[in-house]
Each structure stands twice: as C-alpha cells, then as structure tokens.
Symmetry: C2
C-alpha cells in the first residue's frame, strides 16, 4: 500500500495511514501539491542536472570523467527528488516525468558497486574513506534517503528496480554494521527511519535490528561525543532537545519508528519527555525549530530570537514527520496540533507561491534582505519540501481498529478500506481560511464504526457539529470527537470558530515582551512592508481594536487599526521619558506568515508591539 509510513503491521501503532493513492486533495493543500507536480519537481530535476548532482552518478559508473561536484551528501537531493516523483507520478502518469525517473534510476543502478555499496562521493581516490568517518561524511544519511526513495517508489509505482538497488545496499550495510560487526552510528540521523521502513516493506527483521543498533550506539562517543551529533548521551538518557535541529528531529522520528515496532517503554518515555521540552520551551509559534545559526541548532529553553531564528525548513519537516509518528503511536491530538501548526506556518513558509523558490532559513522578523532562492549549494530543503508536499494527502486520514480518523481538514475525496469494507469519504471545506467542513460518508453496505474528528487545539474545545442536520451524540478523547454509529450515506457538518486571536509568549521568551502575534485558526499572521506602505511594520502597535477579515484570492488577510510609533531621534539608548514618541493611527494589513516574501522586499514581523509605551 502506498503509505509514507506504513504502520499497518506495527504492534505499537494505534493508527494506520490510508494509502496516498486513495485520497485526492483539491483544497488549500491540493494547490500546494499541484504546484509541486507542475513546477517544483520539473524545475528541481533540471537543477539536479545543471548542478552536477546526476553527473556524480555518471562519474561513479565511469560514464564520464570529471571531478565530484558539490558536497559529499549531494546524492540525497537526487534521492529526495525521486521520492517526491514517486509520490506524484501515479496521479500524473506524465511521460516526461516517467522518462526522467527511469533515467535517474538507471544512473543510480549503474553507479552501484557489485557488492551493493552506493555513494558517489566515496569513489576512486575516496574509496578508502568508506565507513571511516560516520560522524561527518553523511554516508549512512545518504543511504537512508536512497532507502526511503526506493520504498516510496515501490509502494507508489509497484516497480522494484530502485527498491532492489536500495535493498542490496542495505544488505551491504547490515553485513557491515551490527553486534559483533563494525561499530558506529550516523553523524546525521536518517538511516533509522529508512531501515524501519525497509523492515516494514520486507518484514526482514535484520533491518529493524540494525536501526535499533544505530540508536543504541549513540552516547558512546563514536560520532563526536557531542550534542551537535546527539552523541553526548545514550538516547534514553536525553532530557532535552539540543544540538543540530534537523539531526535531533530526524533521530526522534527514527526512534519513534523503532518504538512503533518494539514498544520499548524507555524510548517512548524519552520521546514524550523530549516532546514536552521542545513544545513547551523551544518551538517557535510557527512550528519552526532551531534558534541558532551556529550549528543550525536548537537553543536553550525560551531562547527564541525572531530576527535570527534559524528554523530551517528541513527542521519544520522533521518536526512534522516526528509528530506524525507520535500520532500514529498514540492517537493523541496534541501531536496533530503540532503537525498542523508546523505545516501551515514554518513548513509552507519554505516555498514561494510560484513553487520554485525556497527558504533554507525561516526568520520571524526581517528588514527585507531575506529572500527565497531557487536552489542552494546545500539543497536539502527544496527536495525535502517536494517529497513532503507531494505526499501531503497521506496525513489527512488514518484508520484504527475502531474506525476512521480525520487529522487534517482539506477538500478531498477518499476511499478508505476499513476491515475489508470500502468507505467513501469526502470533505468540502475552505480550511484553513474557513472553519466549516462538510464531510460526506458513504458505506455500502452500511457499516458500524467510530469516526474520530480532530478538534484542533486552537479551537479551545468550541465547535458546532451535526449529522444530516441533527445534533450528534459524541464524546471527546485526546483531542478527537468520537462519533460511533452505523454509517451509510451521512453528511457531517462541523464548524470551528475561526476567531482572530492575539497570542502571547511565556514571559521567559524575553524577545517577545509586550508583543503579540495574531493567529486565526492554525495560521500565524505577520505584517509585511508591501501591504503596509504607510509605515514601518517594526513600528506597528497592534492595539486592542477589532481586526477584520478580508478574503483576497481565497486567502484570508486581516485588517485593523493600530498605531505606528515613531521616535524623534535615532539615538540607541537614552533615559526613559526623554525619547518623544508620536503615535500615528494607521490601518494595518496582516498576511499569513507562510505567504511573506512573495512580493517586494521589505521589513516583516510576526511579533508586533502590543501597546503604547
């Protein structure tokens, strides 16, 4: 089945995803997916070619003679692109995409060594370096992305050629590493998720064992012994999320995958402990993670600078992936809340509205210099977005033994297999701009199950719901509204109040003292210069006035009256009371944070002054 994460046989999973192929999205997320198909995947393919990433494979197979191009982890851009292409190809049957995928797989195949080894950096003069520097050289990280791409390719296209290449390399790795074999773990986690998924696809336990082996090797000083590489402590001794944000979130994702298979309580307790540390002390309101440029790392508790927020797009994706796995394990809506918060804000901010420019870094405040780029020398984020958005419909539904769960609201038509019964389900909604969702369910013959509807955390428990126009008997558990009945042809209407909210930070987030940010539903808003030409948005005081919603091109923007604060001089420090401020009443416009930097460059701020002073 075409799952991104296949928990259908995972003993410690409460939930099983629904095949990608069986959910057709056409709403807000559908547009992002369609742009991924129409723009991101084709333009990224061209960049893989023009930047030498494909030539590295041709060089490895001896077809061309040139130097290795770019960074030692550049193979992963090819693999992530293939993973993205695999998710979308069955929908498009695009001949050009088919040809490109086949040619890429062919290059990969030809570059593979007879013993299965496959990494285009470690060829020729670099052959002797194989497996000698797991800390820095991303060898197992590259292998992980190959495996994930291959599993996606097999599940979505039914073809096994890429899968066999990846499995052969995975076998080489299982022969190399493990108890009584070579010691080590990856300086950049990723292989753990990949090996568990390969286990799920093959049911060959050696892959799961190796994933667990790599997890258990942490904290032994084999890959630096430091926080950056998350090698300072054994995994289950970790009390805080620290170090490189993407490494940490990928490791947490992989560890959750391992837990889903082996039910290890110490792992689960660690995951929950670290989740609390992240979500209550170290996560941006955008769902972004990573407060420091230095080491692309997570900061200390409450260290959340806005202008110098690093919040790498890949970290937002990592946060999304990890919370998905935690959700599959528990059915607890708090994980879906973080997924949603991340998706609509710090993840989608990573891509431009034209689908071909990307942020690596996602600040919450800027003077206008930070702009998206078509590509990066370290280009992890663009294809990571492509594979995430290409498979985004996978995160809407799951099933459990009791029924069907709706985690994300999005216009779609789905066909869900529940205990052998085919249930048709569709959503009509303008979410996230409108909180009303009409859900139609058709079960033939009628079938008894529970429908679990997520009540987003931001709704504060408020909603209206009916079935076929009548009130619903229901209960709520862990953020989900449960409706148990015999389903046949039913229409559920649920509406969440899309209230404009002024949000405050914990006072320990000292950057945000006396500032508010505006959220409406799951969407974080910001003020950007292009919409507010009459004043500098860094001077905007939001005030307590009414904020009006306005729909523009289907997108809800916000308008209100506040004040622009200006001072009489440019001095940096002066005695309180000496600076003469003027407060000019202004009309302001706020736009969704994920849409900023799509117009003329200029100042932007998420956290805005709350009051005069």
């Amino acid at each position: 089945m075409a799952f991104v994460v296949d928990t259908s046989k995972s003993p410690y999973a409460l939930l099983t995803p629904v095949s990608l192929r069986d959910v057709k999205i056409s709403g807000f997320l559908g547009k992002y997916r369609q742009r991924t198909i129409d723009v991101s995947i084709p333009t990224q393919f061209e960049l893989l070619e023009s930047t030498g990433r494909l030539d590295n494979f041709r060089r490895a197979s001896g077809k061309i003679k040139k130097d290795f191009q770019g960074f030692f982890f550049n193979d992963t851009d090819v693999y992530k692109w293939l993973e993205a292409a695999s998710y979308v190809f069955p929908d498009t049957k695009d001949r050009n995409l088919d040809k490109n995928m086949k040619s890429v797989i062919n290059e990969i195949k030809d570059a593979q060594e007879p013993d299965g080894y496959l990494d285009t950096y470690f060829m020729f003069d670099k052959k002797t370096l194989r497996w000698t520097n797991l800390k820095d050289l991303h060898e197992l990280y590259c292998a992980g992305h190959l495996i994930q791409a291959a599993v996606a390719h097999k599940r979505n296209t039914g073809e096994e050629n890429l899968f066999n290449i990846a499995k052969k390399f995975a076998d080489n790795i299982t022969n190399t590493f493990g108890s009584g074999k070579k010691e080590g773990t990856s300086g950049h986690p990723e292989i753990e998720m990949a090996l568990v998924e390969l286990y799920r696809e093959t049911r060959d336990k050696k892959y799961l064992d190796l994933a667990k082996f790599f997890l258990d090797e942490r904290g032994k000083g084999l890959v630096g012994g430091d926080e950056y590489h998350i090698d300072h402590l054994p995994f289950t001794k970790l009390n805080e999320v620290t170090g490189h944000a993407v490494r940490m979130l990928y490791l947490l994702s992989g560890a959750t995958d391992i837990y889903l298979e082996n039910g290890d309580k110490a792992i689960f307790e660690t995951l929950n402990r670290l989740w609390n540390d992240l979500v209550f002390k170290k996560m941006y309101i955008t769902g972004g993670v990573g407060s420091r440029y230095e080491g692309e790392s997570i900061g200390q508790a409450y260290e959340l600078p806005n202008r110098r927020a690093y919040t790498e797009t890949c970290a937002a994706i990592g946060n999304f992936m990890w919370n998905w796995r935690m959700l599959l394990a528990t059915g607890d809506g708090k994980f879906a809340d973080v997924m949603e918060q991340t998706l609509y804000n710090g993840l989608l901010s990573g891509i431009s509205l034209d689908g071909k420019n990307y942020f690596y870094v996602n600040p919450l405040e800027d003077r206008g210099g930070h702009r998206r780029q078509p590509w990066y020398e370290v280009a992890c984020c663009p294809p990571n977005l492509a594979r995430t958005l290409g498979s985004i419909q996978n995160y809407i539904y799951t099933t459990s033994k009791d029924g069907i769960w709706i985690h994300l609201y999005e216009e779609n038509d789905a066909k869900i297999n529940l205990s052998g019964h085919e249930i048709l389900i569709s959503q009509k909604t303008k979410y996230p701009w409108d909180g009303k969702i009409k859900i139609e369910i058709s079960a033939k013959p009628p079938f008894d199950f529970t429908l679990f509807l997520r009540i987003p955390g931001w709704a504060d428990g408020k909603f209206d719901v009916d079935i076929n126009g009548k009130s619903v008997e229901h209960s709520i558990e862990k953020g989900y509204l449960k409706i148990k009945k015999t389903w046949q042809d039913d229409t559920i209407t649920i509406e969440f109040p899309m209230k404009v909210k002024r949000m405050k930070s914990n006072p320990f987030v000292r950057e945000n003292t006396d500032k508010v940010t505006i959220m409406r539903g799951p969407v974080v808003y910001c003020a950007e210069a292009c919409d507010n030409p009459a004043f500098d948005v860094w001077n905007l005081i939001i005030g307590n006035g009414k904020i009006q919603e306005k729909v523009e091109d289907g997108v809800v923007t916000l308008k209100g009256n506040g004040f622009a604060k200006t001072s009489n001089e440019e001095i940096l420090y002066q005695e309180k009371g000496k600076a003469k401020y003027t407060y000019r009443e202004v009309e302001f416009t706020l736009i969704p944070y994920h849409r900023w930097a799509n117009s003329e460059p200029g100042p932007m701020a998420v956290w805005l002054f709350d009051r005069k002073g």
Copy 2:
C-alpha cells in the same frame, strides 16, 4: 616617553598622552591595575608556561623537540603578556617579574631566524607556509603584537633588546611587502597599529608607508574578499561596521593611527561614518560590540540580542583603543564617553574580582551557566585585559598646545610636562561611585594654560564646579569644560550628579521592548540571582519606585521595590488574557554589570521588565 600611543609628533593629533610613568593611580581603576600586577600577570605567566606557549619558542630555537602546541596565533599571548609586564615593571621593580620578562625575551631572541623572521608556528615542516596564507594564519597579526610589546618594553624599561628583535622582524616584513614587492594584507588586522607605533618610535617612514599599504590592500580580495576579514570593500568605501568585531575594531584603530600621521580626509570621514554606525546602531549599552556567535561578528543595525550577545572582551578593548585614538585626533568628548562606557561595563566584566578568571564572551542576560575561566584555548582576552589594565593610567590625561585635558576621573597623582613646565596634578575621588572630584593643581612657577575637564555625556550637562571655593568662569566645547587661567596652587572641585537613570533602547532593538536598564553615572547595573534569592530576576519588573543607593565595600549597589511576575502555567504560547499572572511586591538589588558572576551562579539580566502586563 612611556606612552601607549605616542601622538607627540603626530601632525593630525590634537592631543598628546601623558607618560604612563608620571601618573600614579590609587582609586577604582588603581585597584584593577594593582590586581593585574599582583594576580593576573603572575598567573598568566604560569599559564604561558604550562600551556606550551613558551615551549613553542624553545621548540623554534631547537632547544626542545616537541610538537607545536595550540593555535598558530599562540605567540601573541606571550607578546601581550610582555606588553602588560612592560607597563607595570617600572612601578614594581619586582625581581621575579624582571627575571621572567628577561627569560621570555631570551626565548624570543633565540627563536628569531637570522633574516629576522619570527613566528614559532612557521618553523620546520611549516617553513614553506610562510606568507602563503595571510587570510587565515595570523602571521602579520602575530608580528603586530610582537612590535607593540617591543615598543612598550622600550618605552617603559628603556631597554632595547626586545625592540631590536621586533625591528629586525619589521624590517624583514617591509622588505617582503609593499609596492613592487609582495601583495597582501592581514586577515586579522593589528599590524597597522603596530607599524604606526614603530614609525612613531623610530621616525622611519617605511613603517608608516607599510601600514598604509596594508590598509590600501583591503577590498582587493587578497584575504578572502569577505566581510568577515573586512576585505569586501576598500577601507574608505565602507559604510557599515560588519564582520568579525575584533578585526573591525583593530582595523579602525590602525586606520585612525594612520590618519593621525597623514591626515587623509577620506580615512577620517570613513572613521566618523563607521563610528556613527557603531554607536547609534550596533553597540550594546555596556560598550560591548559583536552581536553574533557565528563569526564572532557584528550584526545588522539594532540586532542586539542580550542572551546571545557575543561581545568578546577583546572587542570591548578594541572599542576602547579605537575611541582613544579618535579622541587624540579630535578632542571630542563623545569618544571619551564611549571609552568610559566600555571601560566600566563591557571591558571590566571580562575579568573576575579575584583577577584570575576571564570572560571571552560577555552576555547581557544569562540563566547562570556562563562563568569566567582562568584561561582559554584561544586566550586572546586574558593578556589583552592585562596589557589594557596595566596601562590604564595612560588614558586619564592628555595635553594639547593649549593645556591639560582630563578624560577619566580617578584618584591619582600626576606630573605633567606642559611646554617644558612641570605641572603637578592630583585627583581625589571615589569615581565612578561618587560624582565628586577634587582636583589639585600645582604649577611652579605659575603658568597660564587651559584646563579641559570632561563633562561626561551621562551628566546631561549638569555639574557644579568651583576653583578654590569660588565659582568658575568657563565655557564648554565638545564635552569639555574649559578653564583658562594662570595656575599656581589651585583646587578645583567638580561634581556630577550621580543620578539613577532608567534607560530605554531605540524601539528597533526589539529584544528590549518594554524593558529598562539602570545606569548610574557611567555604570550599567544588572540584577543577579545571588542578590535576589526571593524571585527569578528574569521575572523582575522594575516599576517606577524610588531606587536607593547603598555603599557596600566601597561599591554602590542599588535597592528598590518592584514586582516579581509569575504565571500560572508553563505553556509557551497562549491567547492574550488567558495567562494568569501574579505580581508579588519584592525588594530587588542591582549590582554593577561588571561585577556579575563573581558569586554563586544563577540568572542575570541587564534589561529588566519596565511595567506590568
């Protein structure tokens, strides 16, 4: 004469320093200098030995066989220590110090090559690397520190052995670099200041020419072409202070030295432009410079994070050195204001009250983890403090053709040569704790000159002054009170109001929204946990109550009543109004920022909440 910077013959200097030897300090700064003599210089000498910095010289001369130890710039720690020792030795005549200085100079002498070359890193297998990587390998930076130490040694001890070593190396460098010779400049400025001082000592213009050559070589891409190395633009095209903070401030110091000799208007305009950029947009209230850990660099305008302030001690020293040179050029008190602001706050914070522990990084906010250390692998700051504090009396007085200038207030006795007349001058004061200074002047025979008394910027033009108990006829120009008269035996009393001030930042410093910091005179205060055990200082609201001064061990601490804000929950973000805060009235104690982290570790903050909310 024993000057640090000798502008006595500089055509574009308005002011000339007074010899170190002729000013005896015994007040606040005198204590710091005495601890430097008693503790810092001896303990640092032991560390030079125990960390192999002296062994590197013995290795270079072939006396011992071992690997080079530490970083390629480690020679500079030895040179800076020698510079510090040179400044203090004549006062102490300490036999042990004499022995240590002589032995160090001997090691340096023996390590010098016959052609004058001297850098212990570039020996044996590294010989071929000489002058091959000016960008990264600090070769000219090391040479600069040798020259500065040698000039200080000659000026303060009258001996010429170290000076001849340095001059021989400088001659090697002038033979190597220059028009028609080798191109290049230093990746880390420092050589510019040193060569100008060597010119001042020798009057040999080739050294000044080479300093100017190195300045003019910037912006040609010879040392990286980037902001970090300040090689992205020609010096006189710079509009902003950016890049590595210490590099920038050392370069500005060196460029000012060049201006003092050649009067180049483009250089002077650049210096003033960059000073405005620094002081009005990029300097911490502590005088610290450098907002970013990444690249130890200056951030963008108004980017002044408190917790992640980098503000390297050496950058504070660089800021102090630069402003001294600007003051010598102009006699403008605004430069002395920045010197004072830096000295009493972000510079003195670099050293512990026991004189043997140092900060490399000086944050303005902390949770208690940041502590001073006896030494660092990159140990630039400890000996830099030693040489600065060892010569601190040099910054109190200058002369000009019109008279005597007092820039810093400090208990002292001085003997000043003014146009061949010996003027005795003393200050009695508890500055910076008390704003009253009694100045006694004795001129025999009576002599007509102008006394220039600095009116610190923080005094807002307010002061009381009298001569021999009578009111004074005076004028004020560029921050200096001018008193012209025939001096004989006169007592001037001047008093500046040491008012406790609540200071605010420019609203664009968004970290400091709705926060104040307290200054009293030139001293910035902070709240530290050890003095405020009843609450977390990060929760302190200063409020508008009266703040009382209390003298403890001669130091003014501040006490007042404010509120401790505590919230009902640990959540990170929530709707405005939902968090329930309690405000408990508390008595708070503030201490001078430069004294923090001398007691039990705990949270500290310079910028404190201004009001409830």
